[in-house]
Amino acid sequence: MYDDVVKELKELEELVLKCMKCGTCHADCPLYNQDGKEQSVARGKIALIQSVYEGRLEDAGKILKHIDYCVLCGRCKQSCPSGVKTDEIFLKAKSVLRKIEKMKGWQKFVLSIAMEKPELLAKMAPLMHMGLKFGSKKIKDDVFKPIIPIAGGRNVVSVKSKTFADTYGGLNKAKGEEKMTVIFYPGCAANMIYTSWGEAIVETLNYFGVSVYVPEVNHCCGIPAATMGELDLFKKMVNKNIDYFDSLDAKYIVTCCPTCQYGLNEMGPKQTGRSPEQEMMDVVVFLEEVLHADIKLETGEKTTIHFPCHYDRSKDSLLESFVKDNLGTDYTKLKNQSCCGFGGTFSLKHYGKSSDISTSKAEEISTKGFQRVYTPCPGCAMQLTDALAKEGSEADVSHPVQLFYESVVKKS
């Protein structure tokens, strides 16, 4: 079996050889910037894969922990001068190396529930919600500090007693004349935690004459499985979601989770050879570029934006003008443009390291006295909420559509 593993890693050679070891990935790697260790950065991980299939490193089982120590923010790929597809290399390598080092039984169990039994997970939500209410101290609106340190001292946003899909699953008809029909894919975070984001988005789309399909049961995009090295499970989830998308007569798939979009629309098609029929895009991009929606607020708030790593980065300036002009805010770009450090399963496995990454960003937000930080990603929102609470900052973390919904749509 060991030989098979080496052989399969060797299949990555064409991708790996593109790395000329220039080290440009150092500059944007949130982990390397913390620890200055070559093991943490893409160049080091690629060298490890190479040294296994070139026969210089004998115990392949030992490299998984290094490859796994990665936020998968993809910034190395974005800045790589040679165009090395680091995400593809690491996901494939992890799934190959999983053959040597099996996932721990309980991890596999949790993962399979989360992926394959979404109904069960949804039923557990009220329990988690109750647990959190009783076992924690409320520090501000919907942000809690658990009294028993179950989450490593993390300040959490509550798991809601009712999932978003429970409320909005099915077709939500447009208000007034229907312009088109779209699918809104909430992703697990908006489905269970940021249900208010889902509500704001569906209601706002309805308000602008768009009918919206919401999955009755939210199937995970599969990215957590991919990051754990379970590529087959990832492909299964991608296929399941694409089956669902394909079954509906809709023009676009709108989402508020850049990582889900990356999973279903970029990495998914690469791994399964199948793309959704509809174009998938972030809700802000949809409102601006497709609907040309008339959104005008004058909040005057002092705001900034955290740009999620998996966001379509060519739309960064669109997002900026949306926050600045449409929401009428006093916007300033953050000097610190780093990843927030969340990385989904990464923050579960390495909360301390994950949290360290967001600290300097939270410091800047706090020092500069921002009232609100906009971010179009629920993962980043969770991470920043925690970091800001620790920093003692009063800044709220919001989705760009939320305020418009609260002050215009809801009152209409």
């Binding site: 070891k21 080290g23 150092h26 060298a47 040294s51 004998e58 030992k62 290094h66």
Partner: protein, 457 residues
């Protein structure tokens, strides 16, 4: 290595900053050069000077080779631990200690990343000019040890022109202080000068005092296309003969232009045989005067000039140059970047020679680089798995260096000697110099433990 020795290392730096597992070690077996990877026996990451000193003393007492490593972006194999030993990371020494805006210097630890240092200086309204291609990741200590250059070298010089003082440990663990905070200083040997280009072979640098300068008030950038690369090269000499020193004067050959355009669609003139990217800076009136003269010179040699009207257009122009290496890198699996350098008046001859060599050995070579200071980067694109082609690559490199020396140039303008160019050193310096360097090295490091075998010593 024995458990007892490893225990001592751990005691010094803490077990979180010590590694000896094969997978960890493999991550320090290479740098950015195309050299055979060799893993060290252990890696340590000290977080203060005291730890640095103790690591050095332990290595000396236990006869362990010691290789200092910043970001490992070296292009001549300078940080590859060719005979094993201990790799000491400087990334834990990452504080900027002082910026003095009255006396125009800054004190920094050696592990600070160059771009972060430059940005910090710029936040104080001043400029640290050296801008090596790797500045986003390289460290200040590494820049001094390799005497890194950059795009602004023609007018502003290289790292050595900014080093005022240094603190380092010798191989006995003595703290040595050289230079200081004054513009004039002649106390003792020029120890900062000695540490420049020393490639980690004479001591371990922990702290540097760097000169900083006022930011030029105005600048003007232009892109000039030529139908003939030799004419472009002649233009470089003519500009300097006219007593104009542009801040940057960069050249790209046709192959590089086409490759960059294919990769980026910036809108470069793909028919041009060569491009010059020129930026003049300084007092607004001087800039105005100089840039007009530069345009006249370019046009008189057949160049067609496009001036950047604003910051955005300027960025677009520089984008092409910045993308040169990366665009070339995407073409073939293996890239070998050379830095043979000649006196700038000999650039046309050097360009011609590289073209001939490319044809003779049937290779893909893109050439771009700092034409203004005579430092070209012939970039060979190949595949390390193709043995026959690699043999031709080696011969081509030999010939490029031979030509550079024939033209009174050097085998390395800014990448250093390390392991990659050790065999060519004598042909440039002669035996006497090697003997002198060897004596110096043996006097300071009699056991030959500091970055052994580099420069052939």
């Amino acid at each position: 290595m024995s458990a007892a020795i490893n225990g001592k290392f751990k005691e010094i730096v803490g077990s979180d900053n010590f590694w000896d597992e094969p997978a960890d070690l493999m991550c320090y077996s290479y740098d950015s050069a195309f050299e055979k990877p060799v893993p060290p026996d252990m890696v340590v990451k000290p977080s203060d000077y005291d730890q640095v000193q103790k690591v050095i003393q332990l290595c000396r007492d236990a006869d362990i080779p010691l290789i200092t490593r910043g970001a490992g972006t070296n292009l001549s194999g300078g940080t590859v631990p060719v005979s094993g030993g201990c790799v000491m990371l400087t990334t834990g020494l990452n504080k900027i200690l002082e910026v003095n805006t009255e006396d125009l210097y800054a004190v920094t630890q050696s592990g600070v990343v160059t771009a972060k240092f430059a940005e910090h200086i710029s936040d104080h309204g001043l400029l640290y000019p050296p801008d090596p291609g790797s500045m986003k990741m390289s460290t200040m200590g590494g820049n001094v040890a390799e005497n890194a250059g950059g795009l602004r070298a023609l007018k502003y010089g290289v790292t050595s022109d900014y080093l005022m003082g240094v603190k380092f440990f010798d191989m006995d663990g003595n703290l040595v202080i050289g230079g200081g905070r004054t513009v004039k200083l002649v106390t003792g040997y020029n120890l900062p000068g000695l540490m420049v280009s020393s490639e980690g072979m004479l001591g371990v640098m922990v702290e540097l005092i760097m000169k900083i300068v006022p930011v030029p008030e105005a600048k003007k950038s232009m892109l000039v296309s030529f139908g003939d690369v030799i004419k472009a090269s002649e233009t470089v000499s003519k500009i300097i003969q006219a007593k104009i020193l542009p801040a940057t004067l960069e050249l790209m050959d046709n192959f590089t232009i086409k490759t960059v355009e294919e990769a980026t669609n910036i809108g470069l003139p793909v028919d041009a045989d060569a491009l010059l990217l020129i930026e003049v800076d300084g007092h607004p009136e001087a800039v105005e005067d100089e840039y007009r003269k530069v345009i006249d010179i370019c046009e008189s040699l057949g160049g067609s000039v496009k001036v950047a009207e604003n910051e955005q257009e300027r960025d677009a122009l520089w984008e092409a140059r910045r993308k040169s290496l990366s665009s070339l890198a995407r073409l073939r699996p293996t890239l070998i970047l050379e830095d043979a350098t000649v006196p700038r008046s000999r650039i046309p001859e050097m360009m011609q020679a590289v073209q001939n060599i490319r044809k003779k050995y049937d290779l893909t070579i893109g050439t771009f680089g700092h034409a203004g200071d005579g430092n070209l980067h012939p970039t060979i694109l190949t595949d390390k798995r193709d043995e026959q082609e690699m043999a031709r690559v080696e011969k081509a490199i030999d010939e490029i260096f031979e030509t550079a020396l024939k033209l009174d140039g050097t085998i390395s303008g800014e990448h250093g000697i390390g392991s990659a160019k050790a065999k060519y050193l004598e042909s440039e310096l002669g035996k006497g110099s090697l003997i002198f360097m060897d004596k110096l090295k043996k006097g300071l490091d009699p056991k030959g433990l500091l970055n052994p075998h580099k420069m052939g010593l």
